[in-house]
């Protein structure tokens, strides 16, 4: 299990500096703002969870950071250099696994290495082993369950040895048990590899169990409503812990769900 750390050199985690970011889309001749003056920093190695009402623009923010889109105004700097496009230092894991159906599990995991013409079966094998799918290397994606497919997507992301992992609600469509397992796995990989991580989620509990810091956004156009560090020890990171419960109540209130259970 620990072999992967040996085959892949440890990389410096990425830092982010986001400054007065504004973004929007044109629809029916009118500009619809999506992000409203968003500024925050991510220190190297931080695990930041982004919470907010559905459709508020969190995913758009991730796409901007990934370099898949260009912001209307404001800047995003990675390690002090402005982001102009996608790059292998920032790997995105999407809500859908989006595996290529014409590639086997193994070939899907090797995608990032293929792109840079650095195929290495050993790295791929190690990554598959890490997510417990070494026996399914030659399966086709349509033969996998939802949880297995998302694990392959995780392995495909990790193979790139990212300095920042960008997670766009990666567990949103999984059943609750698979979700619990994968939350543990993501946290473990983050601890072992030490990359920076940004995760959009709808699940307040998930954010509290995984992240070192939680940003709460307003409804669209997204503004930062609160920015709080989560100083919980490993033992406290448990669903029934009173700290977690108190924080959850607090954050749900900010999201406008104080009266719901």
């Amino acid at each position: 299990m620990v072999k992967t750390a040996a085959t892949q050199p440890a990389l410096k985690p990425l830092s982010l500096h986001i400054d007065h970011l504004n973004h929007g889309y044109e629809a029916q001749g009118a500009m619809r703002p999506v992000l409203d003056d968003v500024s925050f920093d991510v220190a190297p190695g931080e695990f930041v969870a982004l919470l907010g009402p559905s459709g508020c623009g969190k995913s758009t923010l991730l796409r901007l950071i990934a370099g898949l889109e260009v912001p209307l105004s404001g800047t995003i700097e990675a390690d002090g250099r402005e982001i102009t496009g996608p790059g292998p230092d920032r790997i995105v894991m999407f809500q859908d696994p989006t595996l290529y159906p014409w590639r086997t599990v193994e070939e899907n995991v090797t995608l990032g290495l293929d792109i840079h013409k650095k195929r290495d079966p050993k790295i791929v094998r190690d990554a598959l082993q890490l997510v417990g799918l070494e026996k399914d290397a030659s399966s086709w994606p349509h033969q996998l369950s939802g949880g297995m497919a998302q694990r392959v997507a995780l392995a495909r992301a990790l193979v790139n040895n990212p300095r920042m992992l960008i997670l766009d609600e990666p567990l949103g469509k999984l059943d609750s048990l698979t979700r619990l397992t994968m939350q543990g796995e993501i946290r473990r990989f983050w601890q072992k590899r030490g990359f920076s991580a940004l995760m959009v989620t709808h699940d307040v509990e998930e954010a509290l169990l995984l992240a070192t810091r939680v940003l709460v956004f307003s409804p669209r156009p997204a503004r930062i409503v609160s920015d709080r560090p989560i100083d919980l020890s490993a033992e406290q990171r448990h669903r029934d812990d009173p700290h977690v419960i108190a924080l959850r109540r607090d954050i749900l209130e900010q999201l406008g769900h104080s009266n719901d259970w």
Binding site: P86, I91, D96, L111, I166
Partner: protein, 320 residues
């Protein structure tokens, strides 16, 4: 064939299955007997040889039945034997259908025995003409379709041309092509490429247009450039549609092939048929027709095999 039905799985096949299996050989033997025993209605060649052939088929079928290799095709084999026997009796023995439009089985056999060289040569010419024209059309079609799907400027300039020329039956261009191309053969090639290329281009385009944008995002976030996105993402994602185009294009080239050979190209099966008809050599025409049918179905089968291999990642597909 790979599926095992409950009847095949059972230890003891049903009486009906056994009847088909062991009846197929005797059906051919009966055809052989009638052929040999009843007197010919006119002076036909190769009657005894035909009877021998029927008998040989019967024996082979009996051997297959004994080896338990004759299952799925047993009913077909039996009925085919009876049908050929009936044809022989109706036409060669009692001359019931108008001649010479309807030949006899031995007439057809005689054509293959005496004219196999010219038939084979025609088949070769047709195949060559078809494969070159279709091959060029398919490759150009895929390239044009990809460009239509990926490049706005290319789409701006090429789409109007496609819209005007595409729906026109390529056959309509035949007279023009014979005039402007240096040889009828080249004209045939060009039109076959056109008739195959159009459906391939359109289907490739629609396949590329339908590619899930998330597939591009995944590769782009890992740093993929345009070349990778086109060749390693868009192209494989569009292959199911491309194959639909390839099948349509193959069918279109078949008809283009026949028309080109009948109207200008002085070789090939179409030319042979035209010639046979001109001399009222109807058995020769039937023989050429049979060879052409076999050629077309073989090429289709080949393309299906290729598709099944390339698209083996799909859950399930149509079986040919």
């Amino acid at each position: 064939m790979s599926r095992v039905t409950s009847a095949q799985k059972a230890e003891q096949p049903s009486f009906k299955a056994l009847l088909w299996r062991w009846g197929a050989g005797p059906c051919w033997a009966l055809a052989a007997l009638l052929t040999w025993w009843l007197p010919d209605g006119d002076d036909f060649p190769d009657t005894t040889l035909l009877a021998g052939l029927f008998l040989a088929c019967g024996v082979v079928l009996l051997v297959l039945a004994a080896l338990k290799r004759l299952r799925y095709w047993a009913p077909w084999s039996a009925v085919l034997g009876l049908g050929l026997g009936a044809w022989e009796v109706v036409q060669a023995k009692f001359l019931l259908l108008p001649r010479p439009f309807f030949g006899t089985p031995q007439d057809l056999l005689d054509v293959f025995l005496t004219d196999w060289k010219r038939l084979g040569d025609s088949l070769l010419h047709s195949l060559l003409l078809l494969l070159i024209g279709y091959g060029i059309g398919a490759c150009v079609g895929i390239a044009v379709g990809m460009a239509l799907g990926r490049s706005l400027r290319f789409r701006y300039w090429v789409r109007p041309i496609m819209r005007v020329i595409g729906p026109l039956p390529p056959v309509a261009l035949l007279p023009l092509a014979f005039v402007i191309m240096p040889s009828t053969r080249l004209a045939g090639e060009a039109l076959m490429a056109l008739s195959a290329g159009f459906p391939v281009a359109v289907l490739t385009w629609s396949g590329v247009a339908a590619v899930d944008p998330a597939y591009y995002d995944v590769a782009r976030t890992m740093g993929a450039k345009d070349r990778f996105l086109v060749l390693r993402v868009a192209l494989p994602a569009a292959t199911p549609q491309i194959f639909v185009g390839l099948f349509m294009g193959l069918g279109a080239s078949f008809s283009m092939l026949v028309v080109a050979e009948m109207l200008g190209v002085k070789s090939g099966l179409g030319f042979y048929m035209q010639w046979a008809q001109g001399w009222a050599a109807y058995p020769n025409m039937y023989a050429a027709l049979l060879v052409m049918a076999l050629m077309c179905t073989s090429l289709m089968t080949l393309l299906f095999k290729l598709r099944d291999y390339v698209l083996r990642w799909q859950k399930d597909g149509l079986k040919w």
